[in-house]
């Protein structure tokens, strides 16, 4: 990504289960503690098999005690970052970056609507606490699968009371996105963090409401799709390559590993630099980026290789090589 990451060392101070598959991890930086602004994340260096990778985790709350608190959801069958994070015990050493913020909270609006889906609660939790402290008018809609999955719901109830509304899909409660947006002050802002499907629903409802797009704020993790991540093959006739893309690997990573020269920046489906032209698809395209519009995605002419993938057998791509 464009920003330069400065790495430092940290020590896991404590871990605590928030739900059966979400764990709070407290990391004490060896260097100076930098108080995270609401919506900040830190980068953590992870080991996946024999290779190193980087994962981003949002801060949980203001971290007033001088330690970075993150929450990590263990993904089923993951051989990736979340499994590594869950293996960290007290005293473990980790590489961490200083906090940085791609999901900044703007103060001073007359009203706010916050929407979290699942583990997307982590930055939204920090936003809610900051808004409560600022005396702002806001509501938080928190959607999760089962009652037991609502990490931080108790803490939120204590801090923000009735302003929290839980939507549990196991109970059959659903969020009426358009109605919720209609209740928001016309000058209000809408903050969303959750799976890509929720984000797309929110974006569609927001666009239909005719409100200015810059008042919809969202953060993407780039790893959630409409479909599960499965292995597939990428054919590149121009280069005569057939590249296997693992279920735990992005298309961009597989292309790079196979020696395809790529340019990219954000690696989370925002900037569009790593997009390649699609020649054909065997299976269903799972666009997981926020760079292309709905119409562009429907046309299936290009995909963001950093996050998007195929649910099916294979994809045939072109590259910029000449």
């Amino acid at each position: 990504m464009a920003e330069h990451i400065e790495w430092g060392e940290g020590v896991v101070r404590a871990t605590r289960e928030l739900t059966s598959d979400i764990r709070l991890i407290e990391i004490a930086p060896a260097g100076p503690f930098i108080p995270p602004s609401p919506g900040s994340h830190i980068n953590v260096g992870v080991r996946i098999g024999d290779r190193s990778d980087v994962r981003c985790y949002s801060m949980v709350g203001p971290c007033a005690e001088g330690f970075y608190q993150i929450a990590v959801k263990r993904l089923p069958n993951s051989r990736g970052g979340s499994a590594y994070m869950w293996r960290l015990a007290q005293g473990a050493r980790v590489s961490i970056s200083a906090p940085s913020n791609h999901f900044e909270l703007g103060l001073g609006r007359p009203d706010y609507l916050l929407l979290a889906g699942g583990i997307g609660i982590t930055p939204i939790f920090s936003h809610a606490l900051a808004l409560a402290r600022a005396g702002a008018h806001f509501r938080l809609l928190y959607a999760c699968r089962g009652r037991g999955d609502a990490a931080l719901a108790q803490e939120l109830k204590c801090e923000i009371g009735e302003r929290l509304q839980l939507f549990v899909s196991a109970d059959g409660t659903r969020i009426d996105m358009s109605a919720e947006i209609a209740r928001l002050d016309p000058e209000g802002e809408f903050y969303v963090c959750g799976p890509i499907g929720m984000l797309q629903d929110a974006r569609r409802a927001w666009n239909e409401s005719g409100r200015p797009i810059e008042r919809l704020r969202f953060e993407t993790f780039g790893n959630s799709g409409r479909r599960p991540s499965v292995a597939f093959t990428a054919h590149i006739p121009r280069l005569g390559k057939d590249i296997a893309v693992g279920a735990d690997q992005s298309l961009l990573e597989a292309l790079e590993a196979a020696g395809v020269e790529m340019i990219f920046d954000c690696r989370r489906g925002e900037c569009g630099l790593c997009a390649l032209p699609i020649l054909s698809v065997e299976g269903e395209l799972d666009h997981r980026d926020v760079f292309f519009s709905d119409a562009e995605k429907a046309a299936n002419a290009k995909l963001c290789t950093c996050v998007s993938r195929v649910y099916g057998d294979s994809i045939t791509l072109d590259t910029a090589d000449r």
Binding site: P32, F33, I34, P35, P36, S37, A64, G66, A98, S100, H102, F103, E104, G106, L107, G108, A130, R133, A134, P212, I213, E214, R215, R217, F218, E219, T220, C266, E270, C271, G272, V290, F291, F292, S293, A295, E296
Partner: protein, 357 residues
């Protein structure tokens, strides 16, 4: 980042006179933050980070389109809250694209910005600078933009007026300043220096303002309000007419006003005014007083300007040379103590700030 700078960032600093900010883009650096100021159509002032999210070109080199700033390089558009509202050649907008928006308050004829944590920026914390409102007290001042000295040197200068005797001889300087006792007091957020010079010959400037013959009682009551405002209540009254006891009705009362914004570690913006409660309708006097302070190098503040920049150059040449302090520096030392305490609060792990990144 925690604050490792020599200035607190969680404070309101003056950035411009209200009259200077209009429907154009004004670039100003406050506490090492490049800021672009403009007036929105509804009259409110907006302050954004003066660097495009995309390639960092100063937004002040672009143009105002409605209430939004269009970058002069690739046309990205940012609204008054710093949110990107347009990106070229794509159908969507990158969700993390924004520039910082700084809290702004326009009060006492100045535009104040808060370079630190916006969550702490309460408008109630704007320093009392009502002398500058142009209502009860009258006067027109000015600004030394990018004065090449550490902002605290200006505080030092104003908190000890014995320098008048040497820097401003012939106008407000007077040997009596050296002989009169002074009292220094302080509170959590302020420091004051009070000096009464009783039954003295008035210095030339004050003799002219008073326009009465004979000896005077002269006062200087200078108050520092942390971190960057100094108010000097000054004047003379015919000796023995009760001024020290509170009856200034026979005298003339002025106030020198200073609001200082650090620009960098070694430069600052010094907003000044000299206001008065006598002959308030006399616009010729207003202009004469303005010229007496700043006038192509000949005003009293021009004299300070020369001293302050020369002092900074000397410090730069001898960075290890400590200052020595004299009895006369008590007011300045209390002011610096209060500033230092603010800095400690911003540096500590608790209550530390997200300073500007």
């Amino acid at each position: 980042m925690t604050n490792d700078k020599p200035f607190p960032v969680n404070a309101w600093y003056p950035a411009a006179w209200g009259s200077e900010v209009d429907r154009s883009l004004t670039a100003r650096t406050i506490c090492e933050q490049a800021i672009v100021l403009f007036r929105r159509a509804d009259g409110a002032v907006a302050a954004l980070e003066d660097a495009c999210w995309h390639r960092l070109l100063p937004l002040s080199m672009g143009r105002l389109v409605g209430d939004q700033v269009m970058c002069g390089y690739h046309g990205l558009v940012f609204n008054a809250a710093g949110r990107c509202t347009f990106m070229p050649a794509q159908k969507t907008i990158n969700p993390s694209a924004c520039v910082r928006a700084f809290p702004v308050v326009e009060k006492h004829r100045l535009v104040w910005v808060w370079p630190g944590d916006p969550a702490l920026a309460s408008p109630a914390l704007v320093p009392d600078f009502h002398w500058n409102d142009g209502v009860e007290w009258k006067g027109e001042g000015g600004t030394f933009y990018s004065l090449k000295c550490d902002w605290r040197l200006v505080v030092d200068n104003l908190m000890d007026l014995t320098h008048e005797t040497y820097v401003h001889a012939g106008s407000i300087g007077d040997d009596a300043i050296l002989d009169a006792p002074f009292e220094v007091t302080h509170s959590e957020k302020s420091a004051s220096m009070t000096r009464w010079m009783l039954d003295i010959d008035p210095p030339p400037f004050w003799a002219r303002q008073l326009g009465k013959p004979g000896k005077v009682d002269r006062w200087q009551i200078v108050t520092f309000e942390a971190p960057a405002v100094v108010i000097g209540d000054v004047g003379v009254a015919p000796a023995g007419t009760g001024a020290p006891q509170g009856d200034r009705s026979q005298g003339v009362n002025g106030a020198f006003l200073a609001a200082i914004a650090p620009e960098t570690k070694t430069s600052c913006h010094y907003f000044w005014n000299f206001v008065r409660t006598f002959r308030t309708d006399d616009e010729d006097l207003t202009r004469a007083l303005q010229r007496a302070h700043v006038n192509e190098g000949k005003g009293v503040y021009d004299q300070d300007h020369v001293v302050l920049e020369a002092q900074q150059r000397a410090i730069d040449r001898q960075p290890r040379q400590p200052f020595y302090n004299l009895n006369i520096d008590a007011g300045a030392l209390w002011a610096r103590r209060i500033i230092e305490r603010m800095l400690e609060n911003e540096r500590g792990p608790k209550g530390a700030v997200q300073a500007a990144e």
